[in-house]
């Protein structure tokens, strides 16, 4: 999983802006999508430069203090080996991706081939807009991308399936920003302009900003964005993520009669679920945990060990909130079940009595072809195990998942514009027929 961000300045005075600093904060805002590697490409009066490194956004702090760039793109990723794809000829360019183009066997191969194709299309003399449109016509999959050419053009877009979101914003009369999430636009002080739709390309140069759409695009937005991936302060397809999460909490509450004293959520995403749940049932919602360290999302850590370390660092239960209480604990999703198992154990140790777990998404049973890090199917706890077994394993008093219909209803968009593949195994048209 990755987050991508682009900074573009216009006009005579464009070189006065140091876009790298804006990029830094934009990427920091997107770190919830991945913090194992960070990469960027930028243009300055000195030319075209790129940099990729392991680690979170802080790994480029020194670089952005020291360097300048008035046009820049970047990516944060949950994959340690991800880097910005750089192509030298026919046209030198760099490209960052969220999601997966259906190309090649590995991520790096797919990203590189996407960038190569872009370079070749531009090399034939196509305009940046037309090259972008041709690119997504030729290459399927579910991805969003931002490309930067050495000539100072930026091209960004969403594949025909439009699985991954992408938004555009502006700052004053000088700057345009492109971002995986709207929240990152807020963070750099950009005002939201619009979201790109599936199969839409935006291109920018000093002379123009153009938008175009390919034929036959069909929105298949990743529903997991609403459940887990996106920030609470982002909006996707006009739907505020936070409201979806509160509605999910309300849906869980509507059919629940378990008697408890306290509702709490696993930070970050499930806090919104808990608020919706508690509001609906009129039960007190309490802060259950305090997080330590950076914003590291446990499911996005590469190894089991780091996952456990990440989790323990991240969540320390607040004993005073749970001691001697019966509680409802809400989490956003269950992948392997180990996160939940540990959280329940930690809560019990701090004195929680009954612990009823409610999950704000349907059981995850299938992997994701679009680059969302879901383990292989045989590692998914909810794939085969009945709920009672999972309950035992997690060590909770009861467990309930959100239904698929409830999820779709909470999102509030027609099911045909959503990808629900990780819950249903039915992927959007294009992938299934491949």
């Amino acid at each position: 999983m990755t987050g991508i961000f682009g900074f573009y300045s216009f006009g005579e005075e464009r070189e006065r802006w140091n876009g790298l600093r804006f990029l830094y904060y934009g990427l920091q805002a997107l770190q919830g999508r991945g913090s194992e590697s960070v990469s960027l490409a930028w243009l300055s009066p000195n030319g075209f430069e790129t940099y990729s490194t392991e680690g979170d956004v802080d790994a480029i702090r020194y670089l952005v203090e020291k360097s300048r760039g008035h046009i820049a793109i970047g990516m944060v990723s949950s994959y340690r080996d991800d880097s910005v794809a750089v192509i030298e000829s026919p046209l030198r360019l760099a490209l960052v991706v969220d999601g997966m183009p259906s190309l090649g066997n590995s991520r790096s191969e797919a990203f590189t081939r996407l960038a190569e194709t872009m370079s070749e299309l531009l090399g034939t003399g196509l305009s940046p807009l037309d090259a972008g449109l041709r690119l997504i016509s030729q290459i399927g999959g579910g991805y969003s991308f931002i490309a930067l050419t050495e000539r100072g053009e930026m091209v960004a877009g969403r594949s025909r399936l439009g699985v991954k979101p992408l938004s555009v914003g502006s700052i004053g009369f000088d700057i345009a920003c492109v971002s995986s999430e709207t929240a990152a636009l807020d963070v750099v002080g950009a005002s939201f302009s619009s979201e790109l739709s599936a199969g839409e390309i935006i291109s920018m140069s000093q002379l123009s900003l153009k938008r175009g759409k390919v034929e036959g695009a069909a929105e298949a937005l990743c529903s997991f964005e609403f459940v887990y991936m996106a920030r609470n302060d982002s909006t996707i397809m006009g739907v505020p993520v936070y409201l979806v999460r509160e509605r999910i909490g309300e849906a869980l509450a509507a059919r629940d009669e378990v008697k408890v004293d306290v509702v709490t959520g696993v930070p970050e995403t499930a806090l919104a679920f808990a608020s919706g749940y508690a509001g609906r049932r009129g039960i007190r919602c309490r802060l259950g945990f305090v997080r330590t360290g950076q914003h590291v999302r446990s499911a996005l850590k590469p190894t089991q060990l780091e996952r456990l370390i990440g989790l323990q660092l991240k969540l320390n239960p607040i004993a005073a909130a749970v001691d001697g209480r019966d509680i409802v604990l809400i989490d956003d999703s269950v992948v392997r079940g180990n996160t939940l198992k540990n959280v329940v154990a930690l809560l019990r140790r701090k004195g929680a009595q009954a612990v009823h777990v409610r999950v704000g998404s349907p059981p995850i049973r299938y992997s994701c072809p679009f680059g969302t890090e879901i383990p292989p199917p045989d590692e998914l706890i909810a794939r085969d195990l009945p709920i009672e077994e999972i309950e035992k394993l997690v060590g909770c008093d009861s467990l309930a998942f959100l239904d698929l219909e409830e999820l779709v209803k909470a999102i509030g968009l027609p099911p045909k514009v959503l990808c629900l593949g990780c819950f249903t195994g039915h992927y959007p048209e294009e992938v299934r027929t491949r």
Partner: protein
């Protein structure tokens, strides 16, 4: 009747067209720096002629007016006003729709306008400060965080109207980007100082103004010195590119109607705006002892602190806003102009058609920041496509040469007007023929989003948010009040500082 028009843009083309349609059947003569193909045609068919000449040269314009025995001169753009063309005509006793230099100062000098508003306590004010040289301005900005906190979120402008260039809006509310934005502000002050160096008619060259947000609209009015009559509100869109992105232009498209106000501006806000403009006109008349005869317009914004607020004033029609209102005007435009010239506007009873209008502007790539690239390209036009779409084409920064070739002059080349029952309908009508104007070996650009449903929804949402805020302030009695806290001084009303500073300043902002 003979009329001489001044100025060669799409606004003037629209004025010429309405005059040509007048029941007085006037002969139309024109003067501008290049030969606008649309106006040229209207001159020819009405029996007049088109002269290429300097519109800012009062002698040249007055001479031409005398030679043709013009009954009325109509001035389109602002620069002839700033250069005293109307004054010269007045001296020669030729009636003119155009504003005397002393009055046009409300447009020419942005610092004069602000000072006027504060001195006469006219609502819709903004905090501001002007500077003679760059170092004082830079100091003020650098100290803003400690001293004058309103100066953190600012608009940096040339203090004088200067080719519509050099306005930067820098909102600075994120502590972590403070250094970055300050660097840009200081850099831009340097740029402004060097850009303004050649404008010797003004002392205070740099204006720093409070940055505000909210929906914008233009209120154009007819004024005969006694009566002020408001036209339908228009929203012009200044960003070069779709969805409000990119450099500031003279305007890339506008919409209006079908009522007198816009869908997201209330009747009450309209009335307040008229009142503000009337007070500004009265104040400048009071100060100069002259009578304001012509067009006056407020580029307005509904803001949190003030409600309807003046961003800038025009001493003429807006371009493209002129096209919207002229298409909505039912009364004979020449009757209106004659009433202005005779000072009997009150008795005229101006009527408006209940239609929505949308204008989309076509500009050559390179406009607005790299104009040398935008200049000298041959234009290919499909007039039938425009006609088939039920739209009208107005030529702007386009020159027709002896051989009948049309060439770009460097600014907005043409504007297409669509009329409909709703703004959305008019907008889609214009979309049908946006490709009717092309260049032979260069590209044009335009904004399809002007007047679209998405745009109107976005504007309404913005208006709702800001309206709640300023109405709340009205209830609480804090409308127009700002509060600052300066260490060592305590709670400060920054407006008091401005008034004190204005009292000390002998200059009224006019400089010279």
């Amino acid at each position: 009747m003979k009329i001489l028009g001044v100025g060669g843009g799409a606004r003037e083309h629209a004025i010429a067209e309405r005059l040509a349609l007048s029941r007085y059947n006037p002969r139309i003569y024109w003067i501008s720096e290049w030969k606008n193909p649309g106006i040229e045609r209207l001159c020819a068919t009405s029996g007049g002629f088109y002269k290429i000449g300097r519109t800012t040269d009062p002698e040249a314009v007055a001479e031409l007016a005398s030679n043709i025995h013009a009954d009325l001169v109509v001035i389109g753009p602002e620069e002839p006003n700033f250069h005293g063309v109307p004054d010269e005509l007045e001296k020669r006793g030729i009636p003119c729709i155009g504003v005397s230099r002393d009055l046009a100062i409300i447009e020419q000098s942005k610092s004069f306008l602000r000072a006027l508003q504060w001195r006469y306590n006219i609502p819709g004010k903004l905090l501001f400060k002007t500077f003679r040289d760059e170092s004082a301005a830079m100091d003020a900005l650098a100290q803003a965080e400690k001293n004058i906190t309103w100066m953190q979120n600012v608009v940096l402008k040339p203090a004088r109207q200067a080719g519509g260039k050099g306005v930067k809006v820098v909102e600075d509310r994120h502590a972590y980007l403070l250094k970055e934005k300050l660097e840009f502000k200081l850099g831009h002050i340097e740029w402004l100082a060097s850009y303004m160096k050649d404008y010797l008619d003004i002392e205070d060259k740099i204006l720093i103004e409070e940055c505000v947000w909210g929906p914008e609209y233009t209120l154009q009015c007819f004024s005969d010195g006694k009566e002020l009559i408001g036209m339908p509100l228009v929203q012009d869109n200044k960003h070069a590119f779709e969805f409000d992105i990119g450099p500031e232009t003279g305007g890339m498209g506008s919409f209006a109607g079908p009522e007198l106000t816009l869908p997201f501006i209330t009747q009450e806000e309209y009335s307040r705006s008229i009142k503000i403009i009337r007070e500004i006109v009265n104040a400048v008349q009071d100060l100069t002892g002259k009578s304001y005869r012509g067009i006056v317009a407020g580029q307005m914004m509904v803001t949190e602190v003030e409600g309807p607020t003046v961003i800038e004033m025009y001493s003429r029609f807006g371009d493209p806003e002129a096209l919207n209102v002229l298409a909505m005007l039912e009364t004979d435009l020449l009757d209106v102009f004659l009433a202005i010239a005779d000072g009997r506007l009150a008795r005229l009873g101006i009527k408006w058609r209940t239609v929505a209008t949308v204008v989309k502007v076509i500009a050559p790539e390179g406009y607005p920041d790299f104009r040398e690239l935008a200049r000298g390209h041959e234009v290919i036009v499909d007039e039938k496509a425009v006609e088939d779409a039920g739209c009208k084409l107005y030529w702007g920064s386009a020159h027709i040469d002896e051989g009948g070739r049309i060439l770009t002059v460097g600014s907005r080349v043409a504007e297409i007007l669509g009329v409909g029952e709703t703004i959305e309908e008019a907008s889609s009508r214009v979309d049908l023929c946006l490709d009717a104007v092309k260049l032979k070996s260069w590209n044009v650009f335009y904004r399809r989003d002007i007047g679209s449903r998405e745009m109107l929804e976005k504007r309404s949402k913005l208006a709702d948010v800001v309206r709640r805020l300023y109405r709340r302030r009205m209830e609480l009695g804090t409308i127009g009040k700002r509060v600052d806290w300066i260490p060592g001084r305590g709670i400060v009303d920054p407006a008091e500082d401005i008034v004190k500073w204005l009292m000390k300043e002998p200059s009224d902002g006019r400089g010279g």
